[in-house]
């Protein structure tokens, strides 16, 4: 019997109640959002519950939303994969803009180690309980977090690549 998205949803809601929400399917991926204080348990549950068995962590990365509300300025995205049922799932959790912290999942997946270090390196997201949370790709002396949106990419005097010249803002809404 194939693993259906509705079953995953009902199992998660049974266990975590309102802490998991916004279940949806985007393209071919089943997506859900989990609160930052339960996300470790949600992933542990997805991994260890025999009926779910999401035993492979495909990817982990951060996203920065500086224009969102204070409590939703950072996002950590986990991609999990159940190889037996060939089902993928995306778990997102939103973090506070000034104090982005979330529990590390290195104890569940060894491969999360460097992925979390990379996310810390580029976004400054703190993974509590990580065994060695130091910079990985950038040099150790760096003080800023370069993938944050406020970090300038190139000469800010350049206007030829500015969205305003195309009659819209980043959010593609009215000016």
């Amino acid at each position: 019997m194939a693993l259906e998205s509705v079953d995953i949803q009902s199992k998660l809601q049974e266990t975590f109640g309102d802490n998991v929400k916004y279940f949806r399917t985007e393209y071919d991926m089943f997506v859900l959002e989990a609160d930052e204080d339960v996300v470790y348990n949600v992933i542990k549950f997805l991994k260890e519950e025999p009926a779910l068995n999401f035993s492979f962590l495909t990817d982990l990365c951060g996203v920065h939303y500086p224009d969102s509300e204070e409590n939703e300025q950072f996002c950590v995205v986990y991609h999990l994969h159940n190889w037996y049922e060939n089902k993928r799932i995306r778990v997102k959790t939103f973090l506070n803009g000034t104090k982005p912290e979330v529990k590390s999942i290195t104890s569940l997946f060894n491969c999360a180690n460097w992925m979390e270090r990379e996310t810390f390196d580029f976004y400054g997201i703190i993974f509590n309980g990580h065994p060695n949370l130091v910079r990985i790709l950038n040099m150790d002396e760096m003080t800023s977090f370069p993938m944050r949106k406020e970090f300038p990419m190139e000469d800010s005097g350049r206007t030829d690549k500015d969205d305003r010249f195309f009659g819209r803002t980043i959010n593609n809404s009215t000016i």
Partner: protein, 412 residues
């Protein structure tokens, strides 16, 4: 290699002291890399050695980090392929196609069967060159230089095919949204036929040189073995995972670009050691050749090489001069003004080293809001210290080359 000055609070000093107090012997710290001819790329490992045995390793990466994810956030969608080229530069076309497949999934574009088959052919050629380099370099590291030089000329032949298709050789920047930039010339197919005729002979000889070679077997069997559980835990994918006995292949699990039309086997190993990785790659080359032959056989008639998507695909240049509509499309595409939905999409493909994934978040503007590359080398290279513990220094080199860690992909 040389001695390193480590800070006094380094975790290695504890072991050195303990051992010294125990029996008076001395452990050594050895710096392997960052640039060492035997590591085939920029990898630094600080090794804790007991004689010639490795007790612990600490890898440092990031020497050629180029901030591709940040650059991608500031570029129109079609200018991102040149970045993907430079990740796994041994199989650039796979990366290019992965990017176009991501965009086509996002924009819901169905591309013609013929273009899909052409993509399959070029991706399998890329896989062959990738495995060819990995295996022949492994030969070099175990002391057999001949095989390397012998098969390397066939990489050149593949590059001539690339050149005929897109004009470039190593960093190909091949393809466009919806297909290819131009149809393949008859010469490309000719070169492909010659390659399909000559290469299997050479590859068979290469295999014969190694698979039952006593020296090679002694150097590789039971070296750097990994269990399937551990491989999964460390995020292994691709040939390295299959060598451990797990038959996960994205081409079968989530077929893209019409891979479901072809019959091929997924070679798996048993013990996950260096020898198995070598054999899995060898076998995959034969499967790739078979896929290419099937694709050529089943190739639909006609000359469709791109989808009819004027919003995304540049019109022919002659039309731009004479046709108003074409001029408008041309202008919009070149200025990066293509309609893009607000969405999130993840597209995995089977790269040379494993599951290469592109996670794209768009906000409807001209550039990606966030583009994350799931780079297989980056993820499985963290198992390297675990794999070389207890091995000899010369084994560490062999394990590194059998994992096929590509510095460009590692650092992105």
């Amino acid at each position: 290699m040389g001695t390193v000055a480590l800070p006094a609070d380094h975790r290695y000093y504890k072991y050195i002291e303990e051992r010294h107090n125990e029996d008076g012997s001395e452990l050594a710290i050895l710096n392997l890399g960052p640039t060492h001819p035997a590591t085939h790329g920029i990898f630094q490992n600080i090794l804790l050695m007991d004689g010639e045995r490795i007790l612990d390793a600490e890898p440092t990466i990031g020497y050629i980090h180029r901030a591709f994810e940040k650059i991608a956030e500031n570029r129109p969608f079609y200018q991102i392929t040149p970045l993907t080229d430079r990740m796994n530069y041994c199989s650039s076309p796979i990366n290019n196609m992965a990017w176009w497949l991501t965009l086509e999934k996002l924009l819901d574009i169905e591309i013609p069967k013929r273009a899909q088959y052409l993509r399959v052919i070029v991706m399998e050629l890329a896989r062959i060159t990738d495995h060819l380099i990995c295996n022949s370099i492994l030969g070099v590291d175990t002391g057999a230089y001949t095989g390397f030089l012998y098969v390397f000329q066939f990489r050149e032949k593949v590059y001539e095919i690339y050149e005929e298709i897109c004009g470039a050789r190593l960093t190909t920047n091949m393809g466009r949204i919806g297909g290819f930039e131009r149809d393949w010339s008859p010469k490309a197919f000719e070169l492909l036929d010659t390659f399909l005729k000559d290469f299997p002979v050479a590859w068979k000889e290469f295999e014969d040189l190694f698979t039952r070679n006593r020296i090679f077997i002694d150097r590789t069997v039971n070296v750097g073995a990994i269990t399937p559980e551990m491989a999964m835990d460390y995020g292994f994918t691709g040939p390295n995972l299959r060598a451990a006995g797990v038959d996960y292949d994205v081409r079968v699990a989530q077929p893209y670009s019409s891979y479901e039309d072809f019959e091929f086997n997924i070679p798996v190993g048993k013990s996950g050691d260096t020898y198995d990785r070598f054999c899995v790659r060898n076998a995959e080359v034969w499967e790739s050749l078979s896929i290419i032959r099937q694709a050529l056989e089943k190739m639909p008639e006609g000359n469709a090489f791109h989808a009819d998507v004027p919003d995304y695909y540049l019109p022919p240049k002659e039309d731009v001069y004479h046709n108003m509509e074409a001029l408008i499309y041309h202008f919009k595409i070149v200025m990066g003004e293509i309609p893009v939905p607000v969405a999130e999409v993840y597209q995995p493909v089977e790269g040379g080293n494993g599951e290469l994934g592109f996670y794209l978040i768009t906000d409807g503007s001209r550039t990606p809001y966030r583009l994350h590359f799931r780079r297989p080398s980056f993820i499985y290279y963290q198992a390297y210290p675990e794999m070389i513990k207890g091995a000899m220094l010369s084994d560490a080199i062999v394990i590194l080359s059998s994992l096929n860690v590509i510095a460009g992909e590692l650092d992105a």
